[in-house]
Symmetry: C2
Subunit: 386 residues, 2 copies
């Protein structure tokens, strides 16, 4: 708790406070919990895990963490109150914090709840709140302040870019080691590949992989996200030549990378060759369009057009922002499903993929920083042959 020094979290909170004033929101409540992850809590407080974060429109912040010792180490906020003090119950914490702040029972205020809060929680909270603060109004809407914070999170600060570039750098070292491993002339179990990544990443200072590594050999690569994500299947088994998919990311200071490579083994059938070429074409198409001013949907539609010429379509979005979350704005979906105009400081993935039962799957994914003049590809995943 170091509220005296201006810190990146306080600077972000000031920006949010101005938005709150604009929107007439006097209190904002964000929750990060097991059933409801909200990286905005960390973005605005520095606290990495389960907590309620209360922000006032005067810029004051109060954290109600589940784990106080962790908050004492990481959170940079004005006040910390233990969740235990409120029996770890959301409505009690809300009423308790308002009272702690000396808010008068008859006072009027607008309190916004993070847009992901479950319906039943909102209804319950409204009931508890109305008992103690009959003039307090609860707001929960799609285009509220919490949505504005997600918008802010799209454009990375210099410090955030340092972390993301470090995550990308470690990822590249892991990719190079992987390339060596996958050049060995033997069947390599999916599990060995996945654990190799975990070990290589941590050796280099990563906090770990940022999601369950997907290592799917040729028999399973036709799924977008194979289940289980890795197992006893084999990469490079001469008995099953074809396409294997390897999708992983690592965390550095809470910031993620996210890459996918495809390993093509043995003599490729014409169809497999065709899918690889088409994914590469889509990938190059996307890269050529990644620059400030382009809308994410324009790029998604351009890649879809590449696939549509062959009556194929991609069963997932073309890419997404990365940061404190593995999937965050901007999303690269078709126009009708929204998106964002690319802006310098955004870090996004581009990950075209095509999948066919029998043939297998191909996906190629790298992390891209949008710059003033275009983009910079941060990671070095590619189609491997072996």
């Amino acid at each position: 708790m170091k509220p005296e020094q201006p810190n990146p979290f306080a600077i972000r909170r000031q920006r949010v406070a101005r938005k709150m004033q604009e929107q007439g929101v006097s209190i904002l409540l964000l929750e990060d919990a097991e059933h409801l992850r909200d990286p905005s809590v960390r973005y605005l407080s520095g606290h990495p895990q389960d907590a309620l974060l209360f922000l006032r429109s005067d810029g004051h912040s109060l954290l109600v963490p589940w784990d106080v010792p962790v908050a004492n180490l990481h959170a940079q906020v004005e006040e910390i109150l233990p969740y235990n003090q409120f029996d770890r119950q959301l409505p009690q914490a809300v009423v308790g914090v308002l009272k702690h702040w000396g808010i008068n029972p008859s006072e009027s205020f607008n309190m916004e709840l993070g847009g992901q809060e479950p319906y039943v929680t909102v209804v319950e909270l409204e009931q508890s709140l109305k008992k103690e603060f009959p003039n307090g109004d609860l707001i929960c809407r799609k285009e509220g302040v919490s949505s504005y914070i997600e918008e802010c999170r799209q454009i990375k600060s210099e410090e955030e870019l340092t972390f993301l570039e470090k995550a990308a750098g470690i990822t590249n070292e892991v990719l190079h080691s992987l390339e060596k491993l996958l050049s060995e002339e033997r069947p390599i179990p999916e599990t060995e590949v996945a654990l190799f990544i975990e070990i290589e990443a941590r050796k280099r200072g990563a906090e770990g992989t940022s999601f369950q590594t997907i290592a799917a050999g040729p028999n399973r690569s036709f799924a977008i996200h194979a289940y289980p994500t890795f197992g006893s299947g084999l990469f490079k088994d001469p008995a099953t030549p074809g396409l294997s998919i390897l999708d992983f990311g690592i965390f550095y200071q809470g910031y993620t990378s996210d890459v996918t490579l495809t390993l093509a083994c043995g003599t490729l059938t014409e169809r497999r060759r065709f899918l690889i070429d088409l994914v590469e074409e889509g990938y190059q198409k996307a890269l050529s369009l990644c620059k400030p001013g382009m809308a994410s949907w324009e790029i998604a539609e351009a890649v879809q057009a590449v696939f549509s010429r062959h009556s194929l379509s991609m069963p997932h979005s073309l890419g997404h922002g990365i940061g404190l979350a593995v999937h965050e704005r901007p999303f690269f979906r078709l126009k009708k499903n929204g998106g964002a105009v690319l802006t310098p400081g955004m870090v996004v993935t581009i990950e075209p993929g095509l999948y066919e039962e029998g043939t297998g799957g191909v996906r190629l994914e790298n992390d891209i920083l949008i710059t003033e003049t275009g983009h910079r590809v941060l990671t070095e995943a590619k189609i491997l042959y072996g």
Copy 2:
């Protein structure tokens, strides 16, 4: 897709359909998504990941998976429609499925949404739905059918018990290997301990660890959930004797285990000895009460009473159910915060813990099956000395 054979999922769905009839719910929608995990989707369909599950009160089921090839391998439902067909948008999928079922635009029906669905999603969905089905009512409430399913999930079937016991069995083998590792006379990095668990578990057929292993050496064990969960800290460093915490679980067929051991190293200070003894006392107290008919809150309060005699309190709940989720009902909290009466077939954790900055943390956690006559402890975590 094998709807012809009665399967465990169909049997569960029949039970849910009866509840729907009782409550006047004609359609139930559950969602499992990255931002909103709901293991009830897998419980009722067999599909392990992201999907919408629609159930009708006549027992008919329809899955809208994100990854169709995975659904084709795992889901046991009457119908599968790709989420892509609805642009991967919830409101479109709902309207699309109702039309697919031939529901008349003027028809009346009550449709329940899983209780965790975000407020803004519910409001949006209601708007889209009303346009096409003006007499369709959306229900979202705490004590609805989706809550009933969570209740059902508390009592494990024989097949589920097989999976949970296998998960516990693998966990015990890992615990034995760990004991050997931790008996080595050298400083052992947290990362080595955590990766050792991952490797040993997968070797034995586990799908992997079920949450990020917490391996916190003596400098960090005072946090309940240390962040990062493991790093370069050391277990068994003679320079820092004291208390280390190791908390992990593994998945087998989607079902989890969850255990915690404390490693006490070097000559213990009086305070550390005292905390260990008190946690052991609380643990034994809890076990002595684990039997059918006891309420989870009675046990939580009894353990709290043990700690209160020394003016200490536990900063987390005493335990929780395990199954397809790592934390599920019943929860062992104080009475005012709810819970459940223990019933044969429940599988729960008991995990008293005490934490002090300076002193460190102690937690002991095992998995317990509630039987007709009492309980059976499935796992073998304990306080280790080294």
